[in-house]
């Protein structure tokens, strides 16, 4: 009886334990299966789409600001050394696909208000979809203590821009011309860099410009004895245009004047339209020892940022290509024993034939680098500077001619030309001395590639078109009233065409090309790159 009970209980216990074990094993197996599956199973997803819309902003009218007439810091009588006054009368021309409404600025400390030398604002109406091609150009030739030719394109206001030009050493005057064409007050900060680093000075920040106001700021008043200034102009509120007028007086001899437009940093600087004169001819210019050498052809470069930037500078004479220049690396290795330059076959003081070559430089952050291009014989050049990060730069070269009135020296800052859009316009005002003593020469119809570009004999315009891309381009230049001229521009090459004064020209098929206008005359020199049309506001994606 008790055995029976014992067995019954045992049986029951066995059943219970067996049941539990089975349940446990099943659960454990399920858990293991889930754990195993979890390592590779990726379930499908169901997801809504985030609502977003793209919108194209309504196009705004384009504004182009011409900097106004050349200025001097003292009146004719020599009084008021800190007050600017106009020297002569600039000539301004406009060209655009659509109507241009030109108005004078409303206020300026340049003393030009009410005079023909006043800075002008051209408002280009926007019609249709794309940005209209438009251009304004201002030229002025002066011979009144400050001598020379200055050509400046009228530029669009931006909130950040760089000026690579100027010097504040003895006899060198640099005037910063800021103009606020917008409807709101602009607050401008100026960052001034030199060969020794950044220069901080009171008065360079918080410069307030009322709408339609121009302000002339003499850089000499903030930093003296700066050989190579580079200026960054940042505006908040209204956008401004900036330009720099530099004039040189060596002892008592005038050394020229130039008006330089602002540029935007870019990792590729294409600088066409550099006309170098033979060093031997320029050697007659009386350069005092106290002066630095600012008669040679000099490349000034600056890399914004905080890291060293290695750059490659390709010097391309007319007729050669970028590839030709890059193939000849003439970097002077500072560490190499002896003078690498001396070993070169082109030794000697003067090289007669322009040859393409390239050099590699390293830009120190915060410092402006100037590199004298010693071996550029007389000729026309395009310089292409490439780097991994954006930089700014310009090339200064001088010209000398003996005129009836004696030797005449002028210099020009050649600044980089930004890639153009499909179309570009050119307005070409009259080139004339204030006194009209130098006859204006109507430009030739066209010049074939291979023929020599016109020399500095007569006043005139030469347009340089550089193809820094990899595929050949065909640019069509149509001078108003004339048959179109087609320029086949090989990759890396630069072509030219002479343009008549007092006309307009239309460029087509120039997308991605860089172009600069060179204005020349005996002892006169000025370069102005063509501005691409202001970018219409691109479309925007808005999420909500």
């Amino acid at each position: 009886m008790s055995d029976d009970a014992q067995r019954k209980v045992t049986r029951r216990e066995v059943a219970v334990v067996a049941g539990r074990t089975t349940a446990g094993v099943v659960v454990a197996a399920l858990a293991a299966a889930v754990a195993f599956a979890s390592t590779f199973i990726v379930p499908p997803t169901w997801s809504a789409t985030a609502p977003s819309l793209t919108a194209v902003p309504t196009a705004a009218p384009q504004q182009l600001v011409c900097p106004g007439g050349l200025l001097r810091l003292a009146s004719d009588t020599g009084e008021g050394a800190s007050t600017a006054s106009p020297i002569g009368v600039p000539r301004t021309a406009w060209a655009a696909d659509t109507a241009v409404d030109v108005r004078d600025i409303a206020g300026t400390n340049a003393g030009t208000l009410g005079s023909p030398a006043v800075a002008e604002i051209g408002t280009v109406a926007v019609t249709g979809a794309g940005a209209p091609a438009a251009a304004g150009l201002q030229t002025e030739i002066v011979a009144a203590g400050i001598d020379g030719l200055a050509v400046a394109a009228c530029t669009a206001p931006v909130s950040e821009q760089w000026l690579v030009a100027g010097a504040t050493t003895l006899g060198r005057t640099s005037l910063l011309l800021l103009t606020n064409p917008s409807a709101v007050e602009a607050t401008v900060e100026i960052e001034l860099y030199s060969e020794d680093g950044r220069i901080s000075a009171a008065g360079l920040t918080g410069i307030r410009l009322a709408p339609d106001e121009q302000r002339v700021i003499p850089l000499n008043g903030f930093a003296v004895d700066v050989v190579a200034p580079v200026v960054r102009v940042v505006s908040t509120g209204g956008r401004v245009t900036a330009a720099m007028q530099q004039s040189i007086v060596r002892s008592l001899a005038t050394g020229g004047v130039d008006l330089v437009s602002a540029q935007q940093p870019s990792s590729t600087l294409v600088i066409p339209g550099i006309r170098a004169q033979a060093r031997a001819e320029l050697a007659t210019v009386d350069v005092q020892e106290v002066d630095h050498d600012d008669i040679s052809t000099v490349l000034r470069l600056f890399a914004p940022g905080t890291i060293e930037v290695p750059v490659t500078v390709a010097v391309i004479p007319q007729g050669a290509t970028l590839a030709d220049a890059l193939a000849v690396d003439e970097t002077v290795d500072a560490d190499a024993p002896g003078d690498a330059h001396a070993d070169h076959e082109h030794d000697g003081d003067e090289v007669a034939v322009p040859e393409p070559f390239s050099i590699r430089l390293t830009l120190t952050p915060g410092l402006v680098t100037e590199h004298v291009l010693e071996r550029v014989p007389a000729g026309d050049y395009t310089i292409v500077v490439t780097a991994d990060s954006p930089l700014v730069g310009a090339v200064r070269n001088s010209t000398l001619a003996t005129t009836t009135a004696g030797p005449r020296v002028d210099f020009a800052w050649a600044t980089p030309a930004a890639p153009l859009a499909d179309r570009a316009m050119l307005a070409l005002p009259r080139l004339a001395d204030g006194g009209g003593s130098v006859a204006t020469v109507p430009g030739g119809t066209a010049a074939q590639t291979g023929a020599a570009p016109p020399g500095n004999v007569a006043l005139g315009y030469v347009l340089w078109i550089t193809n820094s891309g990899a595929s050949p381009a065909a640019a069509t230049v149509t001078i108003a009233g004339q048959a179109p001229i087609t320029l086949e521009v090989a990759p890396g090459a630069t072509e030219w065409v002479q343009l008549p004064v007092e006309s307009t020209a239309t460029l087509e098929g120039v997308r991605g090309l860089a172009a600069a206008l060179l204005a020349i005359g005996p002892g006169l020199n000025a370069q102005s790159p063509l501005q691409p049309p202001g970018q219409l506001a691109s479309e925007v994606l808005v999420r909500f």
């Binding site: 609502p51 196009a59 209204g238 808005v542 999420r543």
Partner: protein, 958 residues
């Protein structure tokens, strides 16, 4: 010569009739006539009557109570003389052989006694008095003078009563006809009492006769019915009482009483809810509604006025007052309760302080302060999914279906979570955001507390509750939720263990069911994604225990009513999954793999182990072993708890682990499901999936539950596994905790503002103030929110808005405005801003450094229609002076649309009812205590397993 007519009414009484007829035949004083009435019986009653009473014509009548049927038949009988008596008998009123003799003796001795009632004895136990005389309380309630008492002749001395029950009563036929018979308005209950009252008002006396015993199978209202629910009985009783009150009242009080009928009914309904008798509520309301349309009142009043000979003072001595009345009422309730709800089982209280509960909570509190202590003292925290809360008025104003200014203005419903927010915020009404800070910091100890009590239900002693409390407090989803500012998920996590405990109890208690329903509403409001899993689990529970369906079913009711407007709106929009979206600001995160979820990580980074291990290796100069090492380490540290959970099935009592593991599976499935549903749009225009953390919480709950069972089953071998498991869980959250302690959380102390101080201050007084809130992204992309007033504070962020993916016309104009604002534009922006009613433009500093930001700053600064206000901590701000603000969203308010009013009323009503049900009241327990059977119950309960399973078992025994 006295003649007695037996008025025998049979209604479905074939079972009782033979005995009754036998007893009638054995009377020592044979009745002179028998008037047999069949009240439309559906059984063999008619046949029995016809067979057993061959010489008697059986009258057929319509169905009704004894009084009703007798009334309908006797009304047709011509008025009788004073020597004729009616003896009313139902089919179950088998009289004692000497009953009629005794009754007649009584009326013959005293000529003024015109109504005599016998002792009604229980049919099944003839020694127990079922009823013996009725009376009124001072307020007019009717009372049984005797209810189910053993007959020890204790009531034999007092014979004068106010009334007697109709069954078995002997009434002088002349009086009966003079009074117009029984009152039509009292079909079942109180007919006899009322007749007695009216008889006494004519000067007659009513007596109960101790020597006359008549059987009774049940109360008068059950006459002829198989059974009668407590609710119906209560309705009948209330109806009768209302009728009598209206009939007996003085004429001047009648209108007032009539007007008070419905309010009183509603008040009594609420009181019934408070008393946890929800089944009586329909009866109360029904009686009230019937009472106001009671057409028999005036007739009855006329009858009384016609027949009354003496004043109402004649009744007064028979009213039962004071303690006697209370005692009688309590007794009636106690007797009735025997057939009503099962009592709440009295459980063994697990010793919270003695067995480590307090320690667990304390440790959780310390851990919380270590991890989130930086938030202490902050007036608000914000970041991640959390925005600061607006002022208290705003919290309540935004509830319901109403016009909203956000999103270009729309009419839509708030989330259920906003009701919770309003309640939370009201706790610190002077600064509602403070409540969120407190909740975030207190979440861990609160979680520990809830988990401890829930685990103590499973395993009252040993390691289980402590392990559960700690494991729940430092559960990865809780810490992650707090770090990310997911208040809803935190709330759900804290409430889940309480919900489990309440659901276990809900099977046997209405009150607990209501508590569970409110907790369920809270959990689902906080983490809507848990709703499908929880509902399925409830359904599974109903299938397992079908007898508890009614109490389990109501658990989903408040949540359903609260969520209905949102769910309907989302269904109407064709985005059903969006109804599951997390409340608050959507946050886009990398989707965690299933393995991460399995290891308890709601994020894709395996609780940050994937970055923690390499960082640790780097700190000690060890080779970088890669992110996979982090996964492996996490898998190792959470393995013990997983193994314990599986082990539970092998151990004694392991069946209790199965539900826990089912919960875990449901949680894991929810977590995986959440990761695949991208429903909401972040303020930056990305798609955010539902947060899987809430699912992980549920999964964790199941794991811990199973682990508790395992520890219980391990008994004295539980120490080492428990310690290893807890250590593993602590280790698992070390990287998360370190991130919190070092401030690397999305949530940061905040000033409690969404917009710059200037705008926020202006927005408080001007709710329509428009601020364009722009965040620049990439080259030319902008995320835009048109803020109104003080900005999108938490209560104004609705999932209806965050899950909207359709593009409306208002969006197009907004997009155009933004595109032109951030561009050099030729558009008249002043007019556009005026039209959009935008006064401020905020460019978030978060986008600084992008090309889009530079473009926007450039364009905004150059805009002549905007004045720069300055650089705020949030980014540069511009003002468009003179812009008009949008009209405040007052129309329509929550009560102004039909749908809004209906849903608001339903929500308030349902939540109110459940609150009343849930509020703990002690009344019933006090009554119960006097009952012997309950005492037995308690003793067995305490000695047994002490949980609801035992109680359920007992209920079945019963």
């Amino acid at each position: 010569m006295t003649t007695v007519t037996v008025v025998l009414v049979a209604r479905n009484g074939a079972k009782h009739l033979p005995a009754t007829l036998d007893a009638l035949a054995q009377q020592t004083r044979r009745p002179d006539r028998i008037l047999a009435i069949d009240a439309a019986s559906s059984d063999a009653s008619l046949k029995v009557l016809q067979e057993r009473l061959p010489g008697v014509t059986v009258v057929s009548a319509r169905r009704g109570s004894l009084a009703q049927v007798a009334q309908s038949v006797l009304n047709r009988v011509p008025t009788a003389d004073e020597t004729e008596w009616y003896w009313f008998l139902g089919h179950d009123n088998a009289p004692h052989p000497r009953a009629l003799e005794a009754l007649l003796a009584a009326v013959e001795v005293s000529p003024s006694v015109l109504v005599a009632g016998p002792k009604l004895m229980r049919w099944d136990d003839k020694t127990v008095i079922h009823a013996y005389g009725e009376a009124l309380t001072s307020s007019g309630e009717s009372l049984q003078l005797v209810v189910d008492e053993l007959d020890q002749s204790q009531h034999d001395l007092a014979t004068d009563v106010l009334g007697v029950a109709v069954p078995g009563s002997l009434v002088q036929a002349a009086l009966w006809h003079r009074l117009g018979g029984f009152d039509d308005g009292l079909p079942a209950i109180d007919a006899g009492l009322d007749f007695g009252v009216r008889a006494r008002l004519t000067g007659a006396r009513v007596e109960r006769v101790p020597g006359a015993r008549v059987a009774s199978a049940g109360p008068v209202e059950v006459f002829g019915r198989r059974r009668l629910g407590a609710g119906t009985r209560n309705r009948l009783r209330r109806s009768a009482q209302l009728h009598r009150r209206l009939v007996y009242s003085p004429g001047w009080a009648l209108p007032l009483l009539w007007l008070a009928v419905l309010p009183v009914a509603i008040g009594r309904s609420l009181w019934r809810l408070l008393a946890k008798q929800p089944s009586l509520v329909p009866g109360e309301l029904g009686a009230g509604l019937l009472g106001i349309v009671d057409g028999t009142v005036l007739g009855a009043r006329g009858d009384i006025a016609r027949t009354r000979r003496v004043g109402w003072a004649a009744i007064a001595p028979f009213r039962v007052t004071g303690r006697d009345a209370t005692e009688l009422k309590d007794r009636a309730v106690a007797v009735e309760a025997r057939t009503a709800d099962l009592p709440e089982p009295i459980r063994e209280r697990a010793p919270f302080f003695a067995s480590g509960g307090a320690w667990a909570v304390l440790i959780a509190a310390v851990a919380s302060i270590v991890v989130f202590g930086r938030w202490i003292g902050a007036p608000a925290v914000a970041g991640g999914a959390l925005a600061p809360l607006g002022p208290i008025a705003s919290l309540w104003e935004t509830l319901g279906i109403r016009a909203r200014l956000e999103d270009g203005g729309f009419v839509g419903t708030a989330d259920p979570f906003h009701a919770v927010l309003a309640l939370l915020g009201s706790a610190t009404w002077w600064s509602p955001s403070l409540a969120i800070v407190i909740l975030l910091i207190a979440a861990m100890p609160l979680a520990a507390l809830g988990a401890w009590f829930a685990a103590a239900r499973l395993s009252p002693t040993g390691w289980g509750p402590a392990v559960a409390a700690l494991g729940w407090a430092i559960a990865p989803p809780l810490i992650a939720a707090a770090s990310d500012g997911r208040v809803g998920a935190i709330l759900a996590h804290v409430l889940l263990p309480w919900l489990v405990a309440a659901v276990i109890d809900a099977r046997t208690s209405w009150s607990r069911a209501a508590v569970a329903a409110l907790l369920f509403a809270g959990v689902v409001a906080g983490a809507p994604v848990l709703a499908p899993a929880l509902v399925l689990l409830l359904v599974a529970l109903m299938i397992v225990q079908p007898t508890r369906i009614h109490r389990l079913a109501i658990i989903v009711l408040p949540a359903a009513v609260l969520a209905a407007p949102l769910v309907l709106a989302q269904l109407g929009r064709g985005t059903p999954f969006a109804a599951l979206a997390d409340p608050g600001i959507p946050v886009a995160a990398e989707t965690p793999r299933m393995l991460a979820l399995l290891l308890g990580s709601p994020s894709a980074h395996y609780l940050e182990w994937q970055t923690f291990v390499p960082a640790l290796a780097a700190a000690f100069g060890l080779p970088d072993l890669g992110a996979l090492t982090g996964t492996i380490v996490l898998a190792i540290v959470v393995a013990p708890i997983g193994l314990l959970a599986v082990l539970a099935c092998f151990l004694r009592g392991g069946t209790r682990a199965i539900p826990a593991l089912v919960v875990a599976a449901a949680g894991l499935a929810t977590a995986v499901g959440a990761t695949v549903l991208g429903v909401a749009v972040t303020p930056l225009g990305e798609i955010a999936t539902i947060w899987p953390g809430s699912g992980v919480s549920l999964y964790w709950l199941g794991l811990l539950g199973a682990a508790v069972v395992a520890l219980d089953g391990l008994g004295r071998w539980a120490n080492a596994p428990a310690i290893v498991a807890v250590l593993g869980l602590v280790l698992a959250v070390v990287p998360l905790g370190l991130a919190g302690a070092t401030g690397q959380t999305a949530v940061q102390p905040s000033a409690g503002r969404v917009l710059p101080a200037l705008v926020a201050a202006e927005g408080v007084t001007d709710p329509g103030l428009g601020t364009l809130d722009i965040t620049a992204q990439g080259a030319a992309e902008y995320a835009v929110v048109l803020q109104r007033g003080a900005g999108l504070t938490m209560e104004r962020i609705t999932t209806l808005e965050t899950t909207r993916t359709s593009i409306e016309e208002s969006d197009r104009s907004l997009v155009d405005l933004v595109a032109n604002l951030v561009s050099d534009s030729g558009l008249d922006l002043g007019a556009a801003l005026d039209e959009a009613q935008v006064e401020y433009v905020l460019l978030r500093g978060a986008g600084a450094g992008t090309a889009a930001y530079a473009r926007a700053v450039d364009a905004l600064a150059a805009n002549p229609d905007l004045v720069s206000v300055g650089l705020t901590p949030l980014g540069p701000l511009w003002q468009h002076p003179g812009a008009t603000s949008a009209a405040p969203a007052t129309e329509p308010g929550p009560w102004d649309t039909p749908l809004g009013a209906i849903s608001a009323a339903a929500q308030l009503g349902v939540v109110g009812v459940f609150l009343l049900l849930a509020v703990p009241t002690v009344r019933r327990r006090g009554v119960r205590a006097v009952r012997g059977r309950d005492a037995d119950l308690t003793a067995r309960d305490a000695g047994g397993a002490g949980d609801a399973d035992a109680a359920a078992e007992l209920e079945e025994v019963r």
